[in-house]
């Protein structure tokens, strides 16, 4: 059964609110903000996307007309998913990242948009190559918009890929993030996604691992003020000795809602594989809701290791008692506990700067209860940053 035709999943699917008209108009605000962020985050951005242009400063990145990308080479087909259809209909540009065999690339993408952003991001990582791509999505205004990046990854044999994605758009923005990838033989892919802003977020990730291939997805949503998150991640152990793991976490407050759908599939004949789906939620008030729907399908195999877990709870009084018994005030204890919970989903990020930006945005939201605005922070102040 196709993933989203199941009645169970349909019941929890959040519809994205598409703007009545899509107007790709350039804005000076986006340009100014991109400039400011480039300076304040102290990160060299290889790809900057604003309303007016997409500019690249890397030989690994090619920007082409979306219509020029061969439809047959795409992993996502029109009609396969509502966001994919939206991207196919409206995307003007395609970003193609190529890392040839045995080459390494570490790239940073900054998107600061005011207008709707439907965009293809295709990653072709060669055999024995490595790619580290960190993507940061912010809004340049408080106006309604849609940000829909569609990622297609092809990871060659023995390759290593780390994809870090941060979404902190304004509350009027609908975020539709799609990731689809094939993990080659003995390749290792880590995908880390943090959803902090956006009024409605719909995330779909779908990865297939070949023999001895390893895919590890960590995703976290931190919601407040009625934000809604619909996150579905699907990993398939297609070949023997492959490893698939999905860790999903959610912290919700202020009538927010998060639905976590994790699905692991072990294909017939894929012996000796490992598969895990873990989903955990933290409710900060009784009016918020987290639905965890872990699911597994093991077609046939007698040599697999497969497990799933799910749990949602408020912060327990015993935890607070333990922490406050050391003199820590209750508010600070709650804060520490929430940071600790969220940080579990960031441990796979090896890029220190990417981790710092995500942590700083999470802290900004936790401390100031705001989201969707650019973090007014100097990440060098954080003790986690390793000084040279």
């Amino acid at each position: 059964m196709p993933f989203e035709t199941s009645e169970l999943y349909k019941r929890y699917m959040i519809n994205l609110r598409m703007p009545e008209s899509v107007d790709l108009k350039p804005s000076k605000e986006a340009e100014a903000l991109a400039k400011k962020l480039s300076e304040s985050l102290k990160i060299k951005f290889d790809l900057i996307i604003t309303d007016s242009e997409i500019r690249s400063a890397s030989k690994n990145i090619e920007i082409s007309d979306a219509g020029m990308v061969d439809p047959m080479s795409r992993h996502y087909m029109p009609g396969e998913d509502k966001v994919a259809s939206f991207v196919h209909a409206y995307a003007k540009s395609a970003i193609v990242i190529r890392v040839p065999d045995k080459q390494k690339a570490s790239l940073n993408l900054l998107s600061v948009n005011h207008s709707p952003l439907p965009i293809f991001i295709s990653m072709a990582v060669g055999d024995n190559a490595s790619l580290e791509l960190s993507e940061y999505y912010f809004s340049a205004s408080k106006e309604q918009s849609v940000v829909a990046p569609l990622h297609e990854l092809s990871a060659g044999k023995n390759s290593k890929v780390e994809l870090n994605i941060l979404h902190d758009e304004n509350g009027m923005t609908d975020v539709g993030n799609l990731c689809k990838g094939r993990i080659g033989e003995r390749a290792e892919v880590r995908v880390n996604m943090a959803y902090i802003g956006g009024g409605h977020t719909r995330s779909r990730a779908n990865f297939t691992a070949a023999e001895h291939g390893k895919i590890q997805v960590s995703e976290v949503a931190f919601g407040s003020d009625g934000q809604k998150f619909d996150m579905a991640t699907n990993v398939t152990n297609e070949k023997p000795y492959s490893i698939g793991r999905v860790d999903s976490g959610a912290v919700m407050s202020g009538k927010s809602l998060c639905v976590l759908k994790g699905f692991a599939k072990i294909v017939e004949g894929a012996r000796g594989v490992g598969s895990q789906v873990n989903q955990h939620g933290l409710l900060l008030d009784p009016e918020s809701r987290i639905e965890a729907l872990p699911d597994m399908s093991i077609d046939y195999s007698n040599e697999v290791s497969a497990s799933h877990s799910a749990g949602t709870a408020p912060i327990s009084n015993d935890v607070l008692f333990y922490m406050t018994s050391r003199g820590i005030p209750e508010d600070e204890a709650r804060r520490l506990y929430i940071i600790g919970f969220l940080s579990k989903y960031l441990t796979n990020i090896s890029n220190v700067k990417a981790k710092e930006v995500i942590v700083s945005v999470l802290l900004e939201k936790l401390n100031k209860k705001t989201f969707g605005m650019v973090p007014n922070t100097d990440i060098e102040k954080f003790w986690l940053v390793q000084k040279a």
Binding site: N317, D318, V319, F321, Y322, M323, T324, S325, R326, G327, I328, P329, E330, E332, A333, L336, Y337, I339, G340, F341, L342, S343, K344, W383
Partner: protein, 241 residues
């Protein structure tokens, strides 16, 4: 510091777990509280530290003559009271160092540089034979029972309380670890002049320590009091004698 418990009656919902208990101790003194399972030892420790589920319906708990029964747990800790937990709570994602550093800032005016603080943690951890990687991990998460107990003593060493209530610091420890933990508690007491109220079922850890006052608790009350000789009597005749 003087801790006084006067005619204390504590309830968990409608069940009375402490039924008119009196006890007094001063900073620097070493008291032992013994008693069979279910006698109310852990309930007493939690009530002293202000656990919200333990309701004081009668009597009082005083620190230096002032009631603390309406204080929040963090404020009680800031006065200089410390509770070493029988079952330390696991907090996944919160590092031991981060937790200890936050607690240090909360209970003391210790402004020592972070590097000095880390060296002190390392030194205390070494003397407790706590594996180096343990302090870099999440608080108590995935620790063995023995490791959790050692980390409780490590916290006591770092936070330097005036009076420490240690709830079964010996349970789950092997003989060598018991000696190690006992030696560390003795060292902390000697260096900081802390008062100790050690809660235990068994006398085994007390072979390596020199308690001055022994209290036997039964059914929510202190039923006998004496010196170290009382421990030997309990050891040979049991609590029912």
């Amino acid at each position: 510091m003087k801790l006084e418990i006067k005619n204390l009656h504590v309830f968990i919902e409608d069940k009375e777990v402490i039924k008119g208990l009196d006890l007094a101790m001063n900073e620097g003194e070493f008291h032992v509280l013994m008693g069979p399972n279910g006698s109310g030892k852990t309930s007493l420790s939690k009530a002293i530290m202000g656990h919200p589920a333990y309701l004081i319906k009668e009597g009082d708990i005083l620190v230096d003559g002032k009631s603390i029964k309406d204080l929040s747990t963090d404020k009680i800790a800031k006065l200089g009271l410390f509770l070493g937990f029988q079952n330390p709570i696991e907090v996944d994602g919160l590092g031991v160092i981060n937790f200890l550093n936050t607690a240090r800032g909360a209970v003391s005016k210790d402004n020592a540089p972070f590097k000095d603080f880390l060296n002190e943690v390392k030194s205390n951890a070494e003397s407790l034979k706590i594996k180096e990687d343990l302090v870099n991990r999440s608080l108590n998460f995935g620790f063995s029972g023995g490791e959790k107990k050692k980390v409780e003593v490590l916290q006591m060493a770092m936070l330097k309380p005036k009076i420490a209530i240690l709830d079964e610091p010996d349970s789950g420890l092997d003989v060598d670890a018991i000696k190690l933990v006992a030696a560390k508690i003795n060292e902390i007491r000697k260096n900081t002049k802390a008062g100790i109220l050690l809660i235990t079922h068994y006398s085994r850890i007390l072979k390596y320590m020199e308690p001055e006052y022994v209290h036997i608790m039964h059914d929510g009350k202190i039923t006998r009091e004496g010196g170290k000789d009382l421990i030997e009597e309990i050891e040979s005749k049991g609590y029912k004698a």
